[in-house]
């Protein structure tokens, strides 16, 4: 007889979220996790929140360089080019 692992408690489920999203759970643990989600709206929401955070964190603020930073960097490049010693 195959023993089915006991159902997950919510407290265990939230600890699996990162591994679940990265595809690091074994097949049986993934099934167990998904089975838990199918009956637990709160853990489903927890997972959705973590997903939302990952997605929102990736919305980079467009950060333009200041003209001063631009000048400094151009200067850095020209000094590097002018000095063959710096080229290794």
């Amino acid at each position: 007889m195959l023993l089915r692992k006991p159902d997950l408690a919510c407290q265990q489920a939230v600890e699996l979220v990162t591994d679940y999203l990265d595809g690091n759970l074994s097949r049986s643990d993934r099934r167990r996790f998904e089975r838990h989600l199918s009956v637990c709206p709160h853990c489903t929401e927890y997972l959705a929140q973590i997903r939302a955070i990952v997605e929102l964190a990736g919305r980079a603020e467009p950060d333009d360089l200041t003209p001063q930073a631009q000048d400094e960097i151009t200067d850095l490049f020209r000094r590097w080019q002018a000095d063959p010693e710096q080229r290794s």
Binding site: A9, Q49, I50, A57, L65
Partner: protein, 204 residues
């Protein structure tokens, strides 16, 4: 219908070739593309923004000096970040030496579960609100601010994984940490961001 062609952005591979040939414009484009991320990353290692800027300047010099040796096995961005991490580590005072600081944040306060591990104080539901553009913008701003409140090691991993979108393997390479540490740091860091957001969610 009028179709407008957007100005073509050269990809990293092309910029590397042009930089090797001494093309200043290619360098300017690269700096525009990666400097903000480099500053964010450097800032997680060093005490203030001024030192972070020095680290980044120094890193660009490292990029110029090393570009002939860049082999393209990892993405250019990861290679550049590795240079930043190395420079920042040799300057930084924020980092603890020795064992990596995993940052002792718990995922969810145990008091929110009953003795059988079921929620007694479940999370307030907000994830469906991210379809609202205004809510999403505020939440994204709050997440970026909250990142700075994380312990440095968590901040580094979450920034590289979630803000920069690098894979776990590349992040381990860039930060020179093990896969296991990466997982713990990411898990705790994201959980901490969620806690911070939850505490302020009513104001968003």
């Amino acid at each position: 219908m009028i179709v407008r062609t957007l100005p073509r952005m050269p990809d990293d591979g092309e910029l590397v070739e042009r930089l090797r040939a001494g093309d200043e414009q290619a360098f300017v484009v690269l700096v525009g593309r990666y400097q903000p991320s480099m500053l964010r990353l450097a800032r997680t290692f060093v005490p203030n923004a001024m030192v972070a800027e020095e680290v980044v300047q120094d890193s660009w010099l490292g990029v110029l000096r090393g570009i002939d040796r860049f082999e393209g096995r990892a993405p250019l961005k990861a290679w550049i970040f590795q240079i930043v991490v190395n420079r920042a580590r040799s300057t930084g005072v924020r980092e603890h030496r020795g064992a990596p600081d995993l940052g002792g944040t718990i995922t969810v306060d145990p008091a929110r579960f009953d003795s059988s591990g079921q929620w007694i104080a479940p999370p307030q539901h907000w994830s469906d609100r991210v379809v609202d553009r205004l809510f999403a913008e505020k939440a994204a701003d709050r997440i970026h601010a909250a990142l700075e409140e994380l312990p440095p090691a968590q901040q580094q991993v979450v920034t590289l994984r979630d803000v920069e979108g690098l894979t776990s393997t590349v992040v381990c390479d860039v930060l020179q940490i093990t896969e296991a540490n990466q997982r713990v740091l990411l898990h705790r860091g994201r959980a901490r961001l969620r806690q911070i957001l939850e505490a302020e969610f009513g104001k968003l």
